[in-house]
Amino acid sequence: MLPRQVAANSTTTTSRTRRFRFNWVDGFLWFIRVAAIITIVVGLTGTIQNFMAGQGPSVEQWRDLFVSSISTGAMYGLVALGYSMVYGVLGFINFAHGEVFMAGIMVGWIAATIMFQNGLWDGNPFLALAIVLVVAMVTSTLIAVLTEKIAYRPLRGSPRLIPLITSIGVSFFLQYAFAGLFGVGLQTYPPPPGILSRDINVFGVPIEGTKLLVILVAILAMIALWYFVAKTKTGRAMRAVAEDKEIAGLMGINVDRTIITTFAVGGAMAGVGGLLWALLFRNVQFITGFLPGIKAFTAAVLGGIGNLPGAMLGGVLLGLFEGMGPLLVLDGLGIPAVSQLKDAVAFSALILVLVFRPSGLLGERLGSEERA
């Protein structure tokens, strides 16, 4: 248990008022837990009743929603990896990671449009997608590494909040730099090549080609990352630096280079996530990175910060919560226009996780400094 929690739960402090206060706070937190559970149960019951009565979405519609939510979640998971890795190594939330993600999609759009215009997009779809993937990954990696060099490296060793605030500044700067370069409007990717628009049967469930591709790519990326982190020398170095920077340095690891690599890998993952976004939603705007970025961080926290499988799991779960939550729970409570509340559900999930289980579902993995 963290020392802070020890102190908080200590009953050896003398003042009566202090004990009273703690019970009050704890009581309020319990109240939230209970209220959340009741809300979810009542909501679910209501939805099931509606379903039985023939109202609301049909089985196919629920199924389609489920598939959509999972694929969105897989994308969140990939972006969450970057947040998780940086937090594990440097101990701060890189707000600008959302923009790293957006940058990949934006520049990928240029590639996609050019290929669409000269026929490559429809002619050789997998090659075209591969090119877009490479472009997105390279862009995201480049932006991630640049921001580390310019804005974060000089701040190593500063009090924790300083890099966080700096990353907010970087986030804004990148958003509006892209807005200035590309204009403020929505940029649309060309429609996915024919093959992908069709439904493919998986275990009897027809899934749209793009969604399937998204899930497959996410799984592949996760495996590649796992291999990289667990088996390669650089990956081991990353884990060592995440564990304890100073000692890793003493052991002969080039800490600076390893940190750059961490950012780069996180950026590359975000680039892959960017491709998935392009496939799923096909639009990008300068503000595209902001909210998904925050949600991806939520996913990282959900799964356990610093924990890579956790980030992926958190992503998928978050996709499910926000995609299906409103219809599954809130609709049953009789709330009108539930789709409006999607983001509120996502954030509530974050708050509830941090109240129920602050270390995330699969447990945190933090460096020595953060664990103190």
């Binding site: 937090y87 701040l155 990148l174 958003q175 730099a177 926290v301 974050l350 708050i351 602050p358």
Partner: protein, 578 residues
């Protein structure tokens, strides 16, 4: 010694930056404003100013804190000129490329008019020569600067600062000095200073700065050194209060409107200052408390408020709003009590968004008006003056000033009270604070509640001023802007927040309102981002920092300075008294 690699590297950096500024359309837009007629336009200032700055650093070489850079005039100038040349080469290549390849589909700003704006309207190829010449000159000047004596550099800095400021503040000057003839004499008809007035200002500044050299420095030192009760502090505060009373009478509607916006941000900044600056809790959802104040007032006072419509007087509604704010502070503060700093940030951001979404929702429309908002909010009833709202900004500004003073007072007393000290302890090290017996729970909750109350003042005033509340005034952008104001001004410092608000909101503009200069509107947030990053890298304690905060953030440097016995203004032992 001219280091070619350095020249090349920084020249390339300059070229990229300049091309970037051109590509986002900033040079073109800013060139619509003339600073000195007819020689200097604002766009060109940024364009070549960037180059000049980079050339300065190129010539200065690697900077060691202990040494004064020793740069020889010839070397410096040549280095700078070299940087300028490389930058011009890159930029020219870029422009030629844009001219031949149509990229408008992807980059709508990279059109012919951009090329024109970067080449003094001469186009390729003549314009490129001009660009090259101007770059070499700008670079050379930048490179020359480190070689000059400190005094000369300072004079150049002062002169440029004053000339540019007076040129940009044309609107303010015109508003105060209502005589058209005087304005026409100083400023040119198309905007910008006349050549002679710029020269006159330059001469005046140089003469005055030389005459009072050192006096100003010692004055600021005395201010910083003085403690709260000294006569100096008191006269300064009296001066500020006096200015606050007299200024609105001199200014017209536009500037009073701007002043009100600035004041509202000062108010919210002071509140956030308590939460972030004093208690060290990074609250990114602060706008939620602002919304509680605004919507609370709207629901309680507007006749159009659906369902709950008591139509109270603003003053009667205010205590109710304060209670709501207290509850909100508790509601937000309690779950986050045990959370780490960055988790706290994200969770509070989440709370802010949840509040906004709920206010907008169709579900709660019967109370909060939903998409249609709540309109027809009456202004504040003031005895003898009737209803004061946004239509009478010259009077409303006094209302906001009064609340700013109240908030400043609360802030000041809180800082120096027992709670304030427990906040400081908590900020330093939470676990140690717990161990010595400080109830961090109580401290954190108090911080949130106080912050919420101050924000709700601002919200109530905002609602009365605009007369209508819509949820798009309460998004996460507002929270972040307030944070930037507090940080740039100085965390934990009350005068810092005021200065930060004036500089950022007044000049650049707030998230939903324009600042002094219309041209900045599109690039406002770009600047905010850049300023935040630069401040964090160079001066995280802010522009007008609280002494304690400076000490915290520059611990290493300060001990080093003290050891070297170098006079940076204060030696460590002196600061320990504060």
């Amino acid at each position: 010694m001219i280091e070619m690699r350095r020249v090349l590297r920084l020249g390339l950096l300059a070229g990229v930056s300049m091309s970037f500024l051109g590509s986002i359309g900033m040079v073109e837009t800013f060139n619509e404003r003339t600073l000195i007629d007819p020689i200097l336009r604002m766009g060109d200032l940024f364009f070549y100013g960037t180059l000049l700055t980079i050339a300065y650093f190129a010539a200065r070489g690697e900077v060691n804190v202990l040494e004064q850079p020793e740069v020889e005039m010839g070397t410096g100038t040549l280095t700078g000129a070299g940087v300028g040349l490389v930058a011009a080469a890159f930029t020219s290549a870029f422009l030629v490329l844009i001219d031949s390849v149509n990229v408008l589909e992807f980059f709508p700003n990279m059109d012919q008019s951009m090329i024109q704006s970067l080449t003094f309207e001469q186009g390729i190829p003549i314009g490129l020569l001009l660009l090259g010449a101007a770059s070499v000159v700008a670079g050379a000047l930048g490179g020359l600067l480190p070689a000059l004596s400190d005094r000369t550099r300072k004079s150049i800095w002062l002169v440029s600062g004053w000339v540019i400021s007076i040129s940009l503040l044309e609107v303010v000057v015109a508003d105060i000095v209502e005589s058209r003839t005087v304005i026409r004499a100083i400023y040119a008809p198309g905007g910008g200073l006349r050549l002679w007035s710029a020269a006159a200002i330059a001469v005046l500044v140089v003469v005055l700065s030389r005459r009072y050299e050192g006096r100003f420095g010692s004055f600021t030192t005395r201010v910083r050194e003085s403690d709260a009760k000294s006569r100096l502090r008191r006269s300064l505060i009296a001066l500020a209060v006096f200015a606050a009373i007299v200024l609105p009478m001199l200014l017209g509607g536009i500037l009073n409107e701007l002043l009100i916006n600035v004041s509202l941000f000062i108010l919210m900044g002071l509140g956030l200052n308590i939460v972030v600056g004093l208690a060290g809790l990074l609250d990114l959802g602060y706008v939620a408390f602002f919304a509680v104040g605004a919507y609370g007032t709207a629901v309680l006072t507007s006749p159009l408020s659906p369902t709950v419509s008591p139509e109270l007087n603003w003053w009667v509604a205010l205590p109710v709003v304060l209670i709501l704010a207290t509850l909100a502070g508790l509601l937000v503060g309690t779950p986050v009590i045990r959370m780490r700093g960055d988790y706290l940030a994200i969770v509070t951001l989440g709370f802010g968004e949840i509040v906004r979404i709920l206010l907008l929702s169709d579900w709660l429309t019967p109370i909060f008006g939903g998409s249609q908002g709540i309109r027809r909010i009456p202004g504040v009833q003031v005895p003898f003056l009737g209803e004061v709202g946004g239509t009478r900004p010259e009077l409303f500004v006094y209302l906001t000033t009064i609340f700013v003073l109240i908030a400043a007072y609360i802030s000041y007393r809180a800082q120096n009270s027992r709670v304030g000290r427990s906040w400081a302890a908590m900020r330093e090290d939470e676990d140690v604070a717990e161990a010595i017996g400080i109830s961090t729970v109580r401290a954190k909750l108090l911080a949130f509640i106080t912050g919420a109350i101050v924000a709700s003042f601002a919200g109530a005033l905002f609602a009365a001023k605009v007369g209508a509340v819509f949820t798009n005034s309460f998004d996460v952008l507002v929270s972040i802007i307030i944070l930037v104001v507090v940080i740039v001004g100085g965390m934990g410092s009350i005068p810092g927040v005021v200065v930060g608000a004036f500089v950022l909101i007044g000049v650049l503009g707030g998230p939903k309102s324009p600042g002094l200069l219309q041209e900045f509107a599109e690039y406002k947030l770009l600047f905010y981002g850049a300023i935040l990053v630069v401040m964090m890298l160079k001066k995280p304690e802010g522009l007008l920092p609280s002494v304690r905060r400076s000490r915290e953030l520059h611990q290493d440097e300060m001990s080093q300075d003290a050891w070297l016995d170098r006079d940076t203004g204060h030696v460590l032992e002196d600061r320990l008294e504060t």
